[in-house]
């Protein structure tokens, strides 16, 4: 119902009157507010300014102490040590340069340290305490305490810092902590990291950061005008981080690292029954304590120099062609699919020709191995036998059989940055390179070269499956049942543990393992160097991954180090009831898998099974004579398709 225009006009006038009243009330209210503001900010300004200057109550975060890390026997691998540092709050220092001069008169303070301090002041937030000197010794702390009245705005801060008592040993699986970067700060829960300056960067330290870190506490403290704490009014203690126990055995880890010597490479030792990693060595090493003390530019450059990338954990991040170490798995596939029989023989004349290719594929031994059966082919690593086997097996059956051994998939170990290697297949090639699969590629990949690649840890997992006669395990580094242990989703999936590979003919396991024993025990076996006086039964396989075409031995000696082949060895012992699986990779080795990698593996198995270090000592003294092992079993000469 429309009301008359006259009524509308009356309404408008009425509402406007009320609007005017409301407007006036608003003005009065703002005037009242301003009066209060004037009272606070002008009349009582001096009072509040003094209160602000002497604001006595501060809330400080108490950083939690980081969880310790132990090896399987309870030996401490990472702990916390008290350390004193000098902090300065520039806003509270009347004359910064003069104060710095005064500090330099008391304790050591280099120009470089002052420079770094000034740079940090530029980047820091207002009223933030900035580190001026780290690692003060007791004497310096005492001197500063005596002169503290002359040093307003400076405070000595005692805090726990990370310490790795064994230095370079186990640096890769352990990882290290380092100063938080601005980027990391952005992704962290700021509340949980108040007062914390270090964060796990790599290894277990990085992967288990959440468990190791703990929760900060807080303290409400009364301070004087210079920010010095007079008394604590209220305190909520921090919750320390969880301790972690690793599956590593520090002693075996040391043996593994020493066995590699100065060469770069990796060693993995694990228990085949439960996948517990006993040693995870990677060379070159670094000292994780460097990152705690603060890394100077020179030290970092020294670390980077040479391009050997000591920070990379080669055991999980190095991908290498498995080369001949793939032969036990390919042989097993061929036995399973009845492509070969344990007694099948192939005549090796040093060459293997296929239709459509002028240049034949070659065996590493010129002139060939003659009549060779499965055991001899494995022991002497005959390429022609395995060319023939792979050719008749075909790529599809080969890759399908190798997949459950874990090739081409990360193991899911509790570390970040693990790589998954490549298991070649028709589908893989189509997806990644395009194009169809060639027959020649089957041959090359059948001896572990071509597109094939795997990390040492993947090789160890596959070897453990072999040692277990089909039972698949998940490698693990953090002992289960620990408070800090967390379930990590694994690439292999939770079903991998306990799952198994069933063969139609279970005897094929023993046939292959016997052939691997022959590699160690046979007088012509490629790993015969470590077979002498071996008090237990060891099954193994050598591999040499040729990186570049090297025609003559003489030239190989002179070839640039980086063009030399990688030497590999995988094995397990004792054969009947395996207790340890070992994988060794030596990058750019002098000599092949039998000469360069196998001795390191025996040093590890001797130490674990017999607690005997004599082989290691001989190896370190250079008394293992590898001149007898003439083979540098190479891949096919004549180029790869």
């Amino acid at each position: 119902m429309r009301r008359s225009t006259r009524d509308q006009d009356q309404d408008a006038a009425r509402i406007r009157r009320r609007l005017a009243v409301a407007g006036a009330l608003c003005l009065i209210a703002v005037a009242g507010l301003m009066a209060q503001m004037v009272r606070l900010q002008v009349v009582h300004h001096d009072h509040y300014a003094t209160l602000s200057l002497e604001n006595r109550i501060e809330v400080n975060a108490i950083p939690p102490s980081r969880g310790r890390i132990y090896d399987r026997n309870g030996t401490v691998l990472a702990e916390n040590r008290p350390s004193y540092q000098l902090l300065a709050t520039p806003e509270r220092i009347p004359d910064l340069e003069a104060t710095l001069d005064r500090v330099a008169g008391l304790i050591e303070l280099t120009e470089a340290q002052r420079e770094r301090f000034r740079a940090r002041v530029e980047e820091a937030r207002h009223f933030e305490a900035i580190t001026l000197r780290t690692q003060l010794d007791e004497q310096e702390v005492a001197k500063l305490a005596v002169h503290r009245h002359r040093l307003p705005g400076l405070e000595v801060d005692a805090r726990l810092v990370r310490h790795y008592p064994h230095g370079k040993t186990a640096s890769h699986p352990l990882g290290h902590v380092g100063r938080m970067t601005a980027e990391e700060l952005r992704h962290l829960d700021r509340g949980a990291y108040r007062g914390t300056r270090y964060i796990g960067k790599s290894g277990v330290e990085g992967a288990y950061e959440a468990a190791l870190h703990g929760e900060p506490g807080m303290a409400r403290v009364e301070t004087n005008a210079a920010g010095r704490v007079l008394q604590t009014l209220e305190r909520r203690p921090p919750r320390s981080g969880d301790d972690l126990t690793l599956t590593l055995d520090l002693e075996l880890q040391e043996v593994a690292e020493r066995a590699l010597g100065d060469r770069s490479g990796a060693v993995i030792a694990l228990r085949p029954d439960n996948g517990a990693v006993l040693a995870m060595a990677s060379r070159p090493r670094y000292d994780p304590n460097m990152f705690v003390e603060g890394m100077s530019r020179e030290r970092f450059q020294a670390l980077e120099a040479g391009g050997w990338q000591p920070l990379i954990n080669r055991a999980i991040r190095g991908t290498y062609p498995p080369a001949s170490t793939i032969k036990p798995f390919v042989g097993l596939a061929a036995l399973e699919h009845d492509v070969i029989e344990p007694g099948s023989e192939v005549y090796c004349n040093g060459e293997y020709a296929i239709d459509g290719r002028e240049e034949p594929f070659r065996c590493w031994r010129e002139g060939g191995h003659g009549h060779t059966d499965y055991t001899e082919a494995m022991a002497q690593s005959c390429n022609v036998f395995f060319y023939d086997t792979a050719d008749r097996l075909g790529i599809d059956r080969m890759s399908a059989f190798l997949e459950p051994f874990g090739f081409g998939a990360a193991t899911g170990i509790e570390l970040d940055g693990e790589r998954s290697g490549i298991l070649p297949s028709r589908a893989w090639k189509r997806r990644n390179l395009g194009g169809s699969w060639y027959r020649g590629e089957t041959l090359i990949n059948g001896i572990g070269l071509g597109y094939f690649s795997a990390t040492p840890l993947q090789l160890a997992r596959a070897t453990a499956t072999l040692a277990n006669r089909g039972r698949v395990i998940e490698p693990n580094l953090v002992r289960e049942g620990d408070a800090g242990a967390r379930a990590r989703p694994t690439a292999a999936g939770g079903e991998a543990d306990g799952a198994g590979i069933e063969l139609d003919e279970p005897d094929d396991w023993e046939t292959t393992i016997r052939a691997m024993r022959a590699a160690v025990e046979h007088p012509q076996g490629t790993a015969r160097l470590i077979g002498q006086d071996l008090p237990y039964k060891l099954a193994g396989k050598t591999g040499t991954a040729q990186l570049a075409e090297i025609e003559h031995q003489a030239e190989a000696q002179e070839a640039a180090e980086r063009l030399r082949s990688h030497a590999l060895f995988l094995g397990f012992a004792p054969v009947a009831d395996p207790e340890i699986v070992v994988v060794v990779v030596v990058e750019h080795a002098e000599g092949g898998g039998g000469a360069a990698a196998a001795p390191a593996a025996r040093a590890v198995t001797d130490a674990w099974l017999l607690d005997d270090h004599s082989f290691l000592e001989q190896l370190e003294a250079g008394r293992i004579d590898d001149s007898e092992v003439e083979d540098v079993e190479q891949g096919p000469r004549g180029g790869t398709p």
């Binding site: 009301r3 509308q8 009320r18 407007g23 300014a49 109550i57």
Partner: protein, 376 residues
């Protein structure tokens, strides 16, 4: 600038600028809003301890707010009037839902989890209630008759009670005020107003003993005697006053407030952000900010005065006054004139949904102003 001339209800020309006729925006109001939000971003950057990432979060929310304003400005007031009852009914339904979920979860509950985002149904009420009361009174004879007044009081009381139960006292006060403002503008008799004030005074003790929760009582006590508990409930107020007072006439300068940066001021980026303003920009800064708020409110009241129908007048006036109440309650709380009730400072505080609500309100104001047309 092109202008469109229209005769207004008295036959006088209504001049609309290009901004007004095409984008349905009001230049003066928009400028003032932009100025205050920009100032707010600068203050928050300091309050966040110079954390750019968090400041960016705020910038995103401000942008969403202005987008909401732009969209709402396109909706003609007649459409708003048609939707008013539905908006109110929907808001009330959501409040009941939240209350029911709260009973299930056995605790304070004011959030509705939408999966993608959470929002508080009480935010809807801040606008739905003045819409509803304006809808109720717009086509009636003014001043409203007692029956209408009682009906309006019922409409105001229901959502306010539900919000107070959550318990969110600050928002409950604000929602109640938004409804009462419309009633006041409609010409509610002074006898009603005085009588209501007397009744409120009489029921205050009842509220104190039977309705208010412990922490709410504590806040009132703290307001009366802040120094009695310097480390407990009085801490907020003492530190806030120190921050304001130590700022003085000209302030300590942007990024230089020790109270703010040493984290003495609690809730310094939300409810107590005005203390950071006072510390770093001084009395001058506070005065300028309040002047900007007054300009915004004044423009809102002007828009209400020149609106073409009762619905537009009542709604525009109600929105402008609610905004003012927001500022007054927050500033009063920070400066120690009012008890701490937990309301953000509009357009400056960090906090997503209330910023969007405020911007939607200003979108409605602009719609009322720019959809004026020839009187039929």
């Amino acid at each position: 600038m092109s202008t469109t001339a229209l005769p207004n209800d008295r036959g006088v020309e209504v001049r609309l600028s290009f901004l007004q006729s095409r984008l349905h925006l009001d230049g003066l109001l928009l400028t003032a809003l932009l100025a205050v939000t920009a100032f707010g971003v600068a203050v928050l950057y300091s309050a966040f301890g110079e954390d750019w990432a968090q400041t960016q979060q705020h910038l995103i929310r401000v942008s969403i707010g202005f987008l909401a304003l732009l969209l709402c400005a396109q909706v003609p007031p007649r459409t708003l009037q048609r939707w008013a009852p539905w908006a109110f009914a929907g808001g009330l339904g959501l409040l009941l839902l939240v209350e029911a979920l709260g009973l299930v979860a056995q605790g304070a509950q004011s959030w509705l989890d939408l999966g993608v985002t959470q929002f508080q149904p009480s935010e809807i009420m801040k606008l739905a209630l003045p819409l509803m009361v304006a809808w109720l009174l717009a086509d009636q004879e003014l001043p409203p008759r007692p029956r209408q007044v009682l009906l309006a009081l019922g409409i105001i009381g229901a959502p306010a009670a539900l919000i107070a139960l959550q318990p969110d006292l600050g928002t409950a006060v604000l929602v109640t005020a938004s409804g009462l403002f419309v009633l006041f503008l409609a010409g509610l008799g002074w006898r009603w107003i005085l009588g209501g004030l007397a009744l409120a005074g009489a029921t205050a003790p009842l509220l104190w003993f039977f309705v208010m929760r412990d922490y709410q009582r504590e806040r009132v006590l703290t307001f009366l005697h802040p120094e009695s508990e310097p480390l407990g409930a009085g801490y907020h107020l003492i530190q806030s006053k120190i921050a304001l007072g130590s700022g003085g006439l000209f302030g300590k300068g942007w990024l230089n407030g020790s109270q703010a940066h040493l984290e003495f001021i609690p809730e310094r980026h939300t409810d107590f952000v005005l203390a950071v303003v006072g510390e770093e920009f001084g009395l001058i800064g506070i005065a300028q900010l309040l002047a900007a708020y007054l300009l915004i409110v004044g423009r809102g009241l002007y828009i209400a005065a020149v609106a073409q129908d009762n619905f537009g007048r009542l709604l525009a006036g109600g929105i402008a006054l609610t905004f003012f109440a927001y500022v007054l309650i927050n500033a009063g709380m920070v400066s120690g004139l009012l008890p701490v009730v937990g309301l953000p400072l509009p357009l400056v505080s960090y906090g997503g949904s209330s910023l969007v609500t405020i911007m939607v309100g200003f979108g409605m104001l602009m719609a009322i102003h720019t959809h004026r047309r020839l009187w039929s």
